[in-house]
Amino acid sequence: MGPLRYRLPSRISTRAVLARLGDTAIIAAEPGGASARQYLDTADWRLYGSGRTLEVGADRWGAGTLTLRDARSGEVQATAEMENAPAEARDLPWDPVRSVIEGRRLLVQATAQARLQRLAVLNPDAKTVARVFLDRFVVVEPAGGRHVLRFVTVVPVRGYSSWAARITAALEEMGLQAAGVPLIVSILAATGRAEPGADRGPGVPLEREMPAAAAVGAVLERLRNHVVANEEGVRQQLDIEFLHDYRVAVRRARSMVRQAGGILPAGQVSALAGELGWLGALTGPPRDLDVHLEELEGRTERELEPLRAYLAEKRQHAQLQLLSALDSERYKLLIDQWQSMVSGSPGPYSEEAPDAGRPAGEVADEHVARAYRRVLKRGRAIHAGSPAEALHDLRKRAKELRYLLECFQTLYPDHDRTAAVKELKLLQENLGEYQDCQVQAVALQTMADELMERRVPAATLMALGRQTDELERREAQAREEFEARFARFSSARNRRRLESLVGMRT
């Protein structure tokens, strides 16, 4: 039995809880405390994803303690004294946690003022046989709103679980209910935020019978929210993950809009698709540079320094361009246009959008099947002598299929869809590796030319040369593997899997 946390509703006072506990067992007060807590995690909630939460608590004298907890039970896994709040993995003293965070930045995801009251439950020998914590959190919103959360947590002592059971029974008799979700989720919920990671994907809840236009609208709204939510992080360059998420949302939206012909009014579709293309293109160069810089992370060779400096300079330049785009009237219009498109209710049947009112499930099936057929057709046409463009084109078609399967994920049974995506992923990895190596090799060549003009040491250019060689080797290997990967993807078995998913022949 682990710790059990109960939400203390405002109608029940702490005093009433104490009185009840006193009736149940001998209770002794232990030193409690108050602290300002910051909950840290990466932009993509990696710690939470690994089942942990990390908090920095500062008492009233400002001394900071770092506490790592099991997210679900709240049990302390490790603590450390800290002078400054950690900003990245290397600031943490725990290896397993470092490897979860990797190169991501640690961001303050939530803050709360905590006041803790600790009680010991004693048996007749005056031995502590359970603990009860009465915690009060004041969650402050950036805008200034305050939310008070109160909890009673019963922590059993090993070997004395019957005592904890007695206490929990008494609390439940008072009408207290187990919180059921990790503390961080309660804190986020207090300010209207969803469970970490819950709204990261494009998968909004959809029904097969709802009108197709409403389904597409819901997906586009989720994606728009992602774009807006990540914008500040992109602007401030808090972590490269923000730009990545931002870019993925933009590209998913563009793919969705482009495929929404017949579902959304054609005029709106082409206008928005064009603007999303513009935004997607703007995010490309900084993202590529982020990837290049990330690859250099941890490399300590001196000859790589000029390359790092060069990339950082280019990244800064790309950031300025991106910022001026984000500040532009064009961008504001795009976001507004996007909003009006998703909030408009699906109109009556029109020539422009004949599929708008049809059931979403049916329309999605058709789109997925069509996208799948396209992948098969393009893939089958590729032979040993095909140009690289043929594979790049196939990669785009595969991506379209992937986005469809992800955006409409809630229309399909989890298990079948996951299996289909898994196969598609294997093909995409191969195509991605092939094209990325090619693009990177070209980029390195351009860099080498520019660096040569700057008269960097020969060792730097040689290091670039070695990297190019390695990329070309990987590219050749990916090309060689393509045939087998595609054969697997287009196998009768996989085809049947997809056909059964969408309920039609491909």
Binding site: V76, A78, T79, A120, D125, A126, K127, T128, P156, V157, R158, G159, Y160
Partner: protein
Amino acid sequence: MRVIAAYSIKGGVGKTTTAVNLAYLSAVEGARTLVWDLDPQGAASYMFRVKPRVKGGGRRLVRGRLDVDSLIRGTDFDRLDLLPADLSYRHMDLHLDTTKRPTRQLARVLAPVRDQYDTVVLDCPPSLSLVSESVFEAAARVLVPMVPAPLPARTLDQLQAFLKAREMRRPPKVMAFFTMVDRRRKLHREIITELAGTRPEVLAAEVPASTTFEQMGMRQAPVEIFAPRSSAAAAYRKLWDEIRDQGEF
């Protein structure tokens, strides 16, 4: 999991005091710590207010017939647990003797909880017996408290000779230290100086004779809890630092 034994051939030299206080320091530092009270008198169990009783019997426990997990009790302190004593431990030699490889048996009993603890402290009964042999097999460090009485070197010699005769694959490192030291007494000073100069296994930290330790029995808690500023508490902190400074194990 690092296993440390508080051990002495003689009784009344401060084994339990050492086991309890060091285990507490280990837990405070963040290590998940277990004290196994092997002494049938159950002094360590008493210190932690846990009933000295093994449900199912000590005999079955050392024979590996009991689920050790269910016998462990949490103490009043975070991360510090206890495997209680049992009166039947007074026959532990006999119980061990009936097992296949008696000297491996204690280590085997602890195996199921290996992943649950970073530090295990064994509080051993005073003797040089099959139980001691099993302790030496299980532990990486053997802490030997010594009172500064004449001929303390003899105790150490006996122990070292015993370990050598066993021809163990990985014999534990012996770490001796003085307890109940009264620096005002010339004899104490002389004995300590002489032994510290000639025996490398003698640690620099020494635990003073102090009424604080007598209070431990009354308070039923480590000295750090009720007298953190006492010389007694400082002595154990220094001892713990010194043990750790001698390398990970």
